[in-house]
């Protein structure tokens, strides 16, 4: 089944105001272009699930897309603070944000329970942490094997998950390599799934290496080709991260008005991701060039 579509079409088809939407990717293969399209289409009242926050969280907040956030790390990686987010949490400026906070291990466990259709997942690390005291959704169950009560976190089942990957075939068999994050679990946990990729490839490429598939086609609703869809994050084998962009964001976002200007000019003022990239200029991307380093092929042969 051909599940390819345009990014605007995929977002408008599979996202609804008020949805819980997971955008995953751990500093690598992040669905940035999809987040920008959510801003362009003006969605509101979303709850964003994202383990490690980054510029897109500040941008979605600035664009007033979010009423809530589910996360376990809310800085801009090593580039500094996310000031739009800090204003919301520290000063309820411009309004309060519902923030459901876990550790990375807790988010992993929540997605895993969601993907497994379990009500909860046990987690061993929360004994004595104020995180568990603060969050009423972190509970405990007795251990019928004689140990102490153990903490549990509830399943996370997003309405929509969006992930970015190196490649997929048109049916939605998704392949990724390098740092993988929690994308497979976020995909299986979700009711709907959009995958953006650097390239849609012939299925023969995918099928030459079936262990490389991180999400099988039957879980996928839409496949969208979005080259440079992860910028300013890297895509292994395609382009490097743009640290300058991330650092500049942390400086810019100290000023709430500057965030609004940036969104107006760069996101709402561009019709799509290609136009957004064009505003950066093609020389911009020369800095993100990579060298090639190909894997040694493995033999999948079976009986003759």
């Amino acid at each position: 089944m051909d599940k390819t579509m345009s990014l605007p079409q995929a977002i408008s088809t599979y996202l609804r105001n008020g949805d819980t939407v997971a955008l995953e990717g751990f500093g690598h293969i992040v669905p940035v272009a999809a987040a920008h399209e959510i801003i362009r289409q003006g969605f509101t009242d979303l709850v964003l699930a994202r383990m490690s926050c980054d510029v897109i969280v500040d941008q979605l907040l600035g664009a007033n897309c979010l009423k809530g956030l589910i996360s376990s790390f809310i800085a801009n990686s090593s580039a500094g603070s996310l000031h739009e987010l800090r204003r919301r949490i520290e000063k309820s400026d411009p309004e309060p944000l519902w923030f459901d906070e876990y550790s990375h291990g807790g988010m992993v466990a929540r997605y895993q329970a969601g993907a497994s259709k379990l009500p909860f997942q046990p987690i061993a690390s929360y004994r004595g942490s104020d995180l568990a005291a603060k969050n009423p959704r972190i509970k405990s169950v007795p251990d019928p094997y004689g140990g102490p009560d153990i903490h549990v976190v509830p399943a996370l089942n997003p309405d929509l998950t969006i992930i970015h990957a190196q490649r997929a075939d048109m049916h939605g068999n998704v392949q990724a390599w390098g740092m993988l994050g929690i994308q497979t679990e976020a995909a299986f946990a979700s009711h709907r799934l959009i995958v953006t990729v650097e390239e849609i490839v012939d299925e023969a490429v995918v099928r030459s290496d079936p262990n490389r598939t991180i999400v099988p086609a039957h879980v996928v609703d839409a496949v969208v080709a979005v080259p440079r869809g992860s910028h300013p994050h890297s895509v292994q084998g395609y382009y490097d991260r743009d640290d300058e962009f991330s650092r500049q964001w942390s400086a810019l976002a100290r000023d709430a008005a500057a965030v609004q200007d940036w969104l107006e000019t760069n996101i709402r003022g561009t019709s799509d991701h290609d136009e957004f990239l064009a505003t950066l200029g093609s020389e911009h991307f020369e800095r993100m060039a990579i060298h090639d380093a190909y894997s040694t092929p493995v033999n999948y042969g079976g009986r003759a």
Binding site: S103, R127, P148
Partner: protein
């Protein structure tokens, strides 16, 4: 920021680098890195962030612990990046690495799975039992004065690793506090005293390496004790810069300055462009 030879027997000021046996000027980063590396002797598997911990593990591989292996939060093991990574999710870590695990394996099987000998952490606040705060500063949890990044994987590293090494660039009463504003990653004592949850696997913070010296703690109910100061540091200064009544070891030692070999490795081999050796 330079230091003349005659200062070595005096109490040096906070912003002055310490000195080595070879009279090279040693930066605070170099000092912390060298002592972190030495503390890794006998350990095999280390969970570390980028920057100082990465450098410390690299130095340990060249000196006290040749077979030590580093695991990054992004799931990468056995990384051999051609240049220093800019973060734990820098994709420069991947080419030529020994493995890249999915996050379920890293968090469930490696961290919670108690496969880590030493986890390196940082924190905004630490107390006398090695409880750590990386969540917020202020009294109102819902509207903190300053909202920090949060746990990330710190809670899991604290609970799952056999030991935690804490590296603190600046030893001050604002960071070494009597009472944390928020206990993000509880040490082994606080965890044991809680009523619910699995007991932590390890000892919590066993080493705190600061710009003034080294604190250690070995048993669950033991406080962090100042066991060494860097050359030229008055132990009273370390006590003054600590927000609780810091215990000083009766066997207080003075740390051995970085050796010429250690410094040469750091400067010429491991971080020649001085990305971290500020």
């Amino acid at each position: 920021m330079t230091l003349s030879a005659h200062d070595t027997t005096e109490t040096r000021s906070r912003d002055e680098p310490s000195e080595t046996t070879s009279s090279d000027v040693v930066t605070s980063s170099e000092l912390l890195t060298v002592h972190s590396a030495r503390a890794l002797a006998g350990r095999n598997v280390v969970f570390a962030g980028h920057g100082l911990p990465t450098l410390a593990v690299s130095l340990a591989q060249h000196t006290v612990a040749p077979d030590i292996e580093i695991v990054y939060e992004s799931g990468v093991t056995g990384a051999r990046p051609p240049v220093m990574p800019r973060s734990i999710s820098d994709s420069i870590l991947v080419p030529g690495a020994a493995s890249v695990m999915p996050m379920t394996h890293l968090f469930n099987y490696v961290l919670q799975g108690q496969r880590i000998d030493v986890g390196f952490l940082g924190a905004a606040q630490v107390d006398k039992f090695g409880n750590l705060n990386s969540t917020l500063i202020g009294e109102d949890w819902e509207h903190p004065d300053s909202r920090l990044p949060g746990s990330g994987g710190a809670i899991e590293a604290m609970a799952g690793a056999a030991e935690i090494f804490l590296v603190m660039r600046r030893h001050t009463p604002r960071t070494f506090v009597e009472s944390l504003d928020f206990v993000t990653s509880p040490g082994s004592k606080k965890a044991a005293e809680a009523e619910v949850g699995s007991m932590p696997a390890g000892s919590g913070v066993t080493h705190v390496i600061t710009d003034l010296g080294i604190m250690t703690r070995f048993a669950r109910d033991e406080e962090l004790t100042l066991t060494a100061v860097h050359p030229g540091v008055d132990p009273a200064e370390a006590v003054r810069q600590t927000g609780w009544n810091l215990q000083v070891s009766t066997d207080l030692e003075t740390t051995q300055p970085p050796t010429p070999d250690e410094l040469a490795l750091l400067r010429e081999t491991l971080d020649p462009t001085r990305i971290y050796l500020r």
